[in-house]
Structure formats: structure tokens, C-alpha cells
């Protein structure tokens, strides 16, 4: 199960598992993002290519408006998955 919440500073908080069963609902939530946004991933346990696809689609859309997603507090295993996918260079990871 994936939870997506927005905090008082406007950052999105991702918690749980971002697998293919969550892709559709997550895409709806990310489609609401219209400007540069921090994504707090400290409670994100897992992500697959379906979840990464949602992030890529959002990043592409935002970059056309000079915005971006900034991924924060990713656990080391998930950072590795991003590196395997070559995505550590197209996202700002803090």
C-alpha cells in the first residue's frame, strides 16, 4: 500500500510500497503537481519500474515548465535501483 500526503511546506510524503498496483492512483496524485516539489521518501520502502515510470512522467512534464521533482531521504536500496536505471542523473536526489 502506498500513501501520498502533502505537508505544510508543500512537500509530498511517500510512504509504503510503490508497486504496479499503485500506479494508477499515484499518477492521479502526481498529475496535481504543477511546480518544483520536494518528495520526502523517508518512509518509502519499495519502488518498482511502475513507480519509477510515474516519477519519470511527472519529471518530464515539470521540466517543460522549468520545474522538477527533488527526491529526499531515499533509503540506500532504492538509491541503488535508481542508479541501475540510470536515473540518479535525471533526478535531484538529496
Amino acid at each position: 500500500m502506498l500513501k501520498i500526503e502533502r505537508d505544510e511546506q508543500g512537500a509530498l510524503l511517500l510512504a509504503g510500497r510503490f508497486d504496479a498496483s499503485q500506479e494508477e492512483s499515484a499518477m492521479k496524485a502526481f498529475n496535481q503537481v504543477e511546480q518544483e516539489t520536494e518528495i520526502d521518501c523517508s518512509a518509502l520502502e519499495y519502488i518498482s519500474s511502475a513507480g519509477i515510470g510515474v516519477l519519470i512522467a511527472t519529471q518530464k512534464r515539470l521540466m517543460q515548465k522549468n520545474g522538477q521533482l527533488i527526491l529526499k531521504n531515499l533509503n540506500p536500496h532504492i538509491v541503488e535501483i535508481f542508479k541501475y536505471a540510470g536515473l540518479d542523473t535525471v533526478f535531484t536526489i538529496k
Binding site: D19, A20, S49, I56, A57, Q59, H77, I81, A85, G86
Partner: protein, 134 residues
């Protein structure tokens, strides 16, 4: 092998992960190895759900532990051939505009698994994933 059938639906993912994680916990496997096995299994299963829409049969998942490795075997019935043992051409250095999610799952499977095998028996696809235990 320890085998169970799962309905061909992304809604089965939770039960699929429970099945795998219980097996891995029983063998003392956690952390990075467990995460990579979950990822590889999801990618293959989701591929079956999304690309074999004409089949209505369940997908059978079997797990085996040997001293050297964990083996996952996925049997997908009444489906057209799709050889997952060939790594896809994914340019991991491409600019964002040229990136798309297609092929990424298969690329990840080949990156994190030590062996990816594909076999056919009539209209059944048999995919075997092997991860060596360090």
C-alpha cells in the same frame, strides 16, 4: 519447490509479496537481497498481467532455496512467446526527454538477478530467476 497460483491481476501483488517474504524470512533472507527478489518477481508478474491479456489462467510462482541461491520460477499458461532472457536495449545515459518506462522493468531484472532463463512448453512460458546468496 514451494509453489502457489495467483490470479492474473495486479491486485494479486500484495499476496505475491506475502508469499515471497514469508519464504525468505523462513530462510533468514532480508535486506537488499529480499528487496531485489521482490522487484524481479513483481516485474515478471506485472509483465504477465499487462502483456498476456488473452490468457485468463492463474500465474504459478514457485520458490526454491539451495545453499547457493534462491530460485523463482514463474509459469504463465496459454500465452504467446516473449523471451525475457534477452536483455532489452535501455540507454541508461539518455536525456530525460528520451526516457520512458518501457523496457525498464526487464532491464532491472537483468541487472539485479544472476540468471534469467526462459523456456516454452507448448503455450506455457516458464521464466526462471536465480539470485546467488552471497
Amino acid at each position: 519447490m514451494h509453489e502457489r497460483a495467483f490470479k492474473r491481476s495486479l491486485d494479486s501483488l500484495e499476496a505475491l509479496f506475502d508469499f515471497l517474504n514469508a519464504f525468505l524470512a523462513g530462510h533468514g533472507i532480508a535486506g537488499r537481497t529480499a528487496l531485489e527478489l521482490q522487484l524481479a518477481l513483481e516485474e515478471v508478474f506485472a509483465n504477465s498481467v499487462e502483456h498476456n491479456r488473452t490468457s485468463t489462467g492463474d500465474v504459478a510462482v514457485a520458490l526454491k532455496r539451495t545453499p547457493e541461491a534462491i530460485t523463482i520460477r514463474i509459469r504463465d499458461f496459454d500465452v504467446d512467446p516473449f523471451d525475457v532472457s534477452r536483455p532489452p536495449q535501455v540507454d541508461t545515459h539518455a536525456a530525460l526527454e528520451e526516457r520512458h518506462a518501457g523496457g525498464l522493468g526487464l532491464h532491472l531484472i537483468h541487472t539485479i538477478m544472476d540468471r534469467v532463463e526462459y523456456a516454452r512448453e507448448e503455450r506455457t512460458s516458464i521464466i526462471t530467476l536465480v539470485k546467488y546468496i552471497k
